[in-house]
Symmetry: C2
């Protein structure tokens, strides 16, 4: 196995030396600053899902929707190591249809084939004031940045547990942030006032 690891390192080095392209996992933008939605986010690391969560403004709550959150594997591994996100982190929230009756299911909600859009949160300090930007994609087409006056920016800044992200809703990362002491002051205050952890 040590032999194998050495070969892999050699391979990675050889690849980096002859390829001027950005690392495979870096966010990709168009010349006019739109973000190319990552085509392979479903193969990234899953962080959580929610049903009809309401800190995000929505209309038409007669219908139900799931949110699935994915993060790039490199950023995930760095979070495990440090308790926070490295530059070039990309988080994708996939909004997906929910249904109760289908096949043999009779109650509760399952996810359908109806993918209803992506909300993409990108950390790229060289590009964005405050380090992070949001993009909304409803297809594979490049997505424009959401203006920084939008509510998502202020809400994430004011309530995100770690580095403007909602780690309080990512069960496997919450303890990592606790261990590393990387919670935001605002989150710690909110948590203390609510009388306990989440």
């Amino acid at each position: 196995m040590k032999l194998a690891a050495a070969f892999v390192l050699a391979a990675l080095s050889a690849s980096a030396a002859d390829a001027p392209a950005p690392p495979a996992e870096a966010p990709v933008y168009t010349a006019d600053g739109r973000l190319v939605p990552p085509p392979d986010y479903r193969e990234w690391i899953f962080l959580t899902s929610g049903l009809d969560m309401s800190y995000r403004a929505r209309s038409g709550m007669d219908m139900h929707m799931f949110d699935n959150v994915f993060v790039k594997p490199q950023a995930y591994r760095e979070f495990l190591r440090t308790g926070t996100w490295p530059d070039r982190t990309v988080l994708v929230t996939e909004v997906r249809g929910a249904r109760s009756k289908g096949s043999i299911n009779q109650h509760g909600q399952f996810q359908t084939t109806e993918a209803m859009g992506l909300e993409i949160h990108v950390k790229d300090s060289a590009r964005f004031d405050g380090g992070w930007a949001f993009f909304a994609a409803d297809s594979a087409a490049p997505a424009p940045q959401i203006p920084v006056q939008a509510e998502c920016y202020s809400c994430h800044r004011e309530h995100g547990a770690v580095d403007t992200t909602f780690v309080q809703f990512y069960p496997t990362l919450l303890g990592i942030a606790e261990q590393h002491g990387t919670f935001s002051a605002a989150y710690l205050k909110e948590r203390d006032q609510s009388g306990g952890g989440h």
Copy 2:
């Protein structure tokens, strides 16, 4: 990049030649046939989640629970290629607590840090009649096989869309199975009778 690929192949070959151990992704059993719960399933490919789905017998539905389904990356890639599961496939369903009010969330349900157990579905034709077996784990300890008389076996056989698995609830795989024509006869009949797809 071709150079890199050659190095990686060389590395994999070297590794296989000097390592008698099973492939990294093969299921691991104890001598008495219990399954060692895979410690890294949260880093596998996410297939879907559901809330309070009821084709599985449950008690205490005053509380809410999410199911998160993960599959080994190798098996996922093989499914993309063929529309069905290779031998040694492992599917993990993680049962996780749900909560409505917490941090700034007010409605809907989000996932909590309370992991409530794993249901593990393993395809291993050399070991199991019919190819597949179920295991239930409530900790990292090796889990005994669920007896083959249990309802999960007959339900999956009679209703699973592909090879006794509930691909009808895995949104990104349903179309792959359709393309490859790998649906079970029972599923096709059920779908026709319900007057359409899911």
